[in-house]
Symmetry: C2
Subunit: 339 residues, 2 copies
DNA sequence: TAGGGTTCTGTAACCGGTTTCGAAACCGGT
DNA sequence: ACCGGTTTCGAAACCGGTTACAGAACCCTA
């Protein structure tokens, strides 16, 4: 039966004023209105249960109070933790958040970006991008630039090029893992890296190599794989084939580490007795796994919150805020000769 | 430098037609347009890189292609799994999804609902509601009804009252757990229930009691607690105090089960040797825990997807689709005398 | 008391689309 | 050549707000 919504005009009529005055008092405009009229308008609005139409506002004001967060997959703990941070920061300034799930599909990502631009959302935060790395000049970058040219704010959470960025110190984290494993006496190492071309992957790897250099340990076996449990498991097969004597594995995220541990068990290797495994991100439950996972804590929620603030504050394109990572040593790593 | 967006009027001018015709060809209207003009308009739109402004469309059409999903917390695996399903279903019909995080705050939930109503989103899906149960007549229900009266679609994923619902067979799941524990010989049981008043909590508990009835086993100790790890851990203290001889615990979700296992370990009880623990939901990683968690699988993603379809298809308010649950027996439960 | 400056309010244009309605063009049939 | 019926198209109204602009009312000063 489609009841009609009450509009600003209804309120104005009920209060006996013009739409303009009603808008002024309701819309929080800078213009002043006499106390009496203000009172009348507010009462009328309350009586009629008036709620402004955000589309009309967005159209008139040419901006909507929406913020978009682009992720690969909300169900991935990495992204859902970032999302949590973004939501918290958004609540502070009374803004709504729209999460866009690309499922790592570049086309979908692009489609979202176009929609968001059209939607004139106030800010878009890119937590993960489907194209590898998103170089300047890519379609994604072009779309983002267009968006910015039209007044939108952008912040990214991947090693950025030209956008304000809030990123974890991936390189430092990688180094911490390297040092940890070295200290435990490991020399035959391997790393299960994320998809090649992704910025954080290169950084984590570089940090790890930084630590190894000069230690006399041989180069690690490096296998690129998906950021999933399955990816981690499959990588183990390759590693075992390439270097059967591997005693320590550094997986680029916790999910891969879990998969690796499972596959190692299936292959008859005990963790950490036969081979140590370290992850990255310190996802929830990492400490409840079998065995508890040694990993690197990344302040993902703060990262998301900060990204939003940077975007809203209009941080300059070359500003990058680095977030410290900390190694969390747990049961999945042990001294090489320790049994 | 704020470049102006290209509007429909620009396209129309470039194509030498009126706004009306341009709208007709671009907006997928039913009205027919000659092939020649259609061609001209399409070319102009492509040349100018035209993207329609969804706010203007929403304003004119009185509906926006947005779908909202209300959850307590995206970072909770229960909800992120539902979200994943919703995203998939939304992608099928080319719709965008807005996730609203209430953090279990009733005021925030209400605020979201009002905004969504104003926003004229096409559908709102309620996966979790902050008020206990959301009875008919509550503020939330009032807001939802208002929304529906204005043409919005609603579907819920909690035991509903008057809304189309896609819900798991919580009662059946509870019964499965009860039967499982009984079959293992347990008689001194306890249940860590979710917050009292929540529909699914009552159902899971009722199912569990269904199984116990007639078995001769004494009534379980029931402790209500938060759906968190912490909640599960704290509940263990109460249970141990109330019935020290407890040999099996049914936690209403996996997170609580994890917390319970940890606290039991701290109290010197081994799982499953001394006490068996079963969870609910079969969250990702449940099988990788220490020990692997016996739990009940709930098809959350399908549930979310189905809820969206029901809403969009305008399912009647009394329609409830029940999703089968299946018990997944793993290492956290064992025969009562089995050591 | 006239003149100038504030302060408040209303009119109307505008944001960028969609859609109603009527005019114009075209059709085949007498 | 004339006519009723379709089809195609454009002018203009509308969706529901915001805001530039101008007028009215008020104040204070000379």
């Amino acid at each position: 039966m489609q009841t009609r919504r009450t509009t600003l005009a209804d309120v104005a009529r009920a209060a006996g004023v013009s739409k303009a005055t009603a808008s002024r008092v309701l819309g929080g405009s800078a213009d002043r209105v006499s106390d009496e009229l203000r009172e009348r308008v507010l009462r009328a609005a309350a009586d009629l249960d008036y709620v402004p139409n955000p589309h009309a506002q967005a159209l008139a004001r040419a901006v909507s109070p929406l913020v978009a967060l682009i992720v690969h997959d909300v169900a991935d703990p990495y992204f859902s933790e970032i999302a949590r941070g973004v939501f918290h920061a958004a609540a502070e300034s009374d803004r709504l958040v729209m999460i866009c799930n690309t499922f790592r599909d570049p086309d979908r990502e692009l489609a979202y970006l176009r929609t968001l631009r059209a939607q004139r959302v106030q800010a878009v935060l890119v937590a993960g991008t489907a194209r590898s790395g998103f170089e300047l000049g890519s379609e994604v970058a072009a779309e983002l630039d267009l968006y910015r040219a039209e007044g939108g704010q952008v912040a990214v959470m991947v090693a950025g090029h030209g956008y304000p960025a809030a990123v974890p110190d991936d390189r430092g984290g990688g180094r911490q893992v390297g040092e940890h494993l070295l200290a435990l006496g490991h020399r035959q190492t391997a790393v299960i890296a994320g998809p090649s071309g992704v910025g954080s992957v290169d950084e984590r790897l570089a940090g790890f190599l930084d630590a190894l250099v000069g230690s006399g340990a041989p180069e690690p076996v490096v296998v690129h794989s998906d950021f999933t449990r399955r990816g981690g498991a499959d990588a183990v097969d390759e590693i075992l084939a390439a270097r059967p004597g591997t005693t320590a594995i550094f997986a680029h995220n916790d999910l891969m580490a879990v998969g690796a541990i499972r596959r190692l068990a299936a292959a008859g290797r005990r963790v950490p007795d036969d081979v140590s495994v370290a992850g990255f991100d310190d996802m929830p439950l990492a400490e409840d796994l079998q065995p508890p996972l040694t990993t690197v804590r990344v302040p993902l929620a703060e990262l998301g919150a900060e990204a939003l603030r940077m975007a809203l504050d209009g941080a300059p394109g070359d500003e990058t805020r680095l977030f410290e990572t900390t190694l969390v040593a747990r049961g999945s790593t042990a001294p090489v000769d320790g049994r």
